[in-house]
């Protein structure tokens, strides 16, 4: 190191400076070592989680029978029935519903912030969106419990804790993710596209919706994928409003249990095969998240973000 440094400077060091340089060098390598260690901890954590999940989840899954476990529709640990189909479907339904609520609202908000809002408006909206992102999920859950659930009970009957409540609440929770990622994708669209459209006689709205938005489509799709990740991984808020029946729901007003809430609700007292079945549930969730991340990185590369 010391040699390279003096080479670069092209200066011959006296003995005093040489000492100085080696000290500096030592400090630099120490810092580099620290950073490398920090990076290793991060990677190690991921590897450990993977190893733990697979080591503890796979044997249980095999003992139950992989097929029975994944496609079984009855979850009754007391009767040794461990079918997680209701929870897989529950997670998918809740996520799909959240997307129906959150994606249109989020994309339109991002469009508004990127191309329509005045600077004064933005000053107010940007912090609002980041605040929404920072609200803890248990607070969201509480909001759902005291506002959305009673509202659904009033409007549609039933007890309110339902698939619908979970969809609406999760839809709100994924808004900040969709808004911020979509907005930066929209802001990254070259101004020349917009100007080109205007020069052809297009109005502002047409230029934005027909040229700018399509140009940002990979980034917007990436925001949706991130939103899916957020929705499928959410446990606390969903658990507070979804009713949590381990049954495949046949209506929007029925209760639903997701993969995450299944784990959270029963992990506290589960033992033996029941415990292993819950860890196996986490493996399934992990596979979902992994594929979503993969999809996201593919889209991200294509969007050039």
């Amino acid at each position: 190191m010391a040699e390279r440094r003096s080479d670069r400077g092209g200066i011959a060091f006296g003995p005093a400076e040489g000492k100085n340089v080696s000290l500096k060098c030592f400090r630099e390598s120490l810092a580099a070592g620290l950073f490398a260690a920090a990076a290793c901890i991060c990677v190690l954590a991921v590897v450990l989680i993977c190893a733990f999940l697979l080591a503890n989840g796979i044997p249980g899954m095999v003992r139950i029978g992989v097929f029975d476990f994944l496609t079984g529709t009855r979850w009754k640990p007391s009767n040794n029935l461990y079918g997680i189909m209701p929870m897989i479907l529950g997670s998918l339904y809740v996520t799909a519903g959240a997307l129906l609520v959150g994606v249109p609202a989020g994309i339109l908000t991002a469009l508004f912030m990127s191309r329509f809002a005045s600077r004064r408006m933005l000053k107010f909206m940007k912090p609002a969106v980041s605040l929404l992102a920072g609200i803890p999920s248990v607070v969201f859950g509480f909001f759902g419990l005291v506002v959305i659930v009673p509202l659904i009970r009033e409007l549609f009957g039933g007890n309110g804790s339902s698939l619908l409540a979970a969809c609406v609440l999760l839809g709100m929770m994924i808004l900040p993710t969709i808004i911020t990622v979509s907005e930066s994708a929209l802001n990254a669209v070259p101004q020349s596209y917009y100007e080109g459209a205007l020069a052809l006689g297009a109005t502002h709205e047409r230029a934005v919706f027909r040229v700018v938005l399509p140009a940002a489509k990979s980034g917007v799709a990436a925001s949706v994928i991130l939103g899916i990740g957020r929705a499928i991984g959410e446990a606390m808020a969903v658990m507070m409003v979804a009713g949590n029946w381990p049954v495949i729901p046949d209506s929007l007003l029925k209760g639903v249990r997701t993969l995450t809430s299944n784990i959270v609700m029963e992990m506290g007292y589960a033992a033996d095969l029941h415990r292993e079945a819950l860890i196996a549930t986490a493996v399934v969730l992990f596979v979902f998240i992994l594929s979503i991340n993969l999809l996201f990185s593919i889209l991200k590369r294509r969007a050039g973000l």
């Binding site: 020349s192 100007e195 020069a199 006689g201 297009a202 140009a215």
Partner: protein, 249 residues
């Protein structure tokens, strides 16, 4: 016959006085070149003609710009104005969509539907821009994957598709190689039959080669305006002479 009549035009960007008392009349079905060193206001003048300066914050204009006797800044619909006065930008800016959709964007904007009609417009526009033979078999190709010269001719086709009367070109060849440049120059000369063309260029040889009339700008002022041949051979103003002989700029 004058297509554009510019009367005592002044333009400010904030406190910067970018165009000073500019008056000139631009003849129909001629190529008019605007030349001058960077920052002399020639691109600014071009953008006042189709009101693209409206996008610039703090831009203020006095004076009149008449298109066929109608004041461009007197309540004319900008969408209609830009349909009549097309623009080709310095950097080729095709939309990130197919060749076909690029050309069809303008007509669709102005309410033309129906595949047969659009097909016809796309073909005619690409032919007019001398790029039909190269692209007729790949109309579905992503426009961003064309070469720079092809992209610029596609942008010209896109501008022609809305059947403008005037074509504004803002240094259309400055980002291109010499071969693409000469193809675009040939194209511009051939377009003169049907369109009034106003071209901003840094390249004096280009102005001399293709234009009928040339306007020389310096620091926001119109210094000299006349027939290209005369302006280049016998400039009346000392500053014009210095510029075209390469003494500054």
């Amino acid at each position: 016959m004058a297509k554009f009549e510019i009367e005592n035009l002044n333009l400010w960007y904030g406190s910067h006085h970018a165009l000073k008392h500019v008056s000139l009349s631009i003849e129909a079905l001629k190529i008019t070149a605007l030349i001058g060193p960077s920052g002399c206001g020639k691109s600014t003048l071009l953008k006042t003609l189709n009101r693209m300066n409206d996008l610039v914050e703090g831009c203020r204009i006095t004076g009149r710009v008449l298109l066929d006797g109608q004041d461009v800044y007197g309540g004319m619909d900008t969408s209609l104005l830009r349909r009549r006065v097309g623009m080709v930008f310095q950097k080729p800016n095709p939309f990130p969509m197919s060749v076909y959709d690029n050309v069809a964007f303008g007509p669709r904007t102005h309410g033309i539907r129906g595949k047969a009609r659009l097909d016809d417009i796309v073909e005619r526009s690409l032919r007019a821009a001398a790029i039909w033979d190269e692209l007729k078999d790949c109309l579905k190709k992503d426009a961003l994957r064309l070469s720079g010269g092809q992209q610029q001719r596609l942008c010209i086709a896109r501008a022609l598709a809305v059947e403008p009367e005037v074509l504004l070109m803002d240094e259309p060849t400055s980002a291109l190689d010499p071969i693409s440049t000469s193809r675009i120059e040939d194209l511009v000369v051939s377009l003169k039959q049907n369109y009034t063309i106003i071209i901003v260029t840094h390249n004096m040889q280009q102005a001399a080669r293709i234009s009928d009339r040339t306007a020389f700008f310096l620091l926001g002022e119109l210094v000299e305006y006349g027939d290209t041949e005369k302006l280049f051979s016998l400039p009346r103003d000392k500053r014009t002479e210095n510029y075209i002989t390469g003494r500054f700029g």
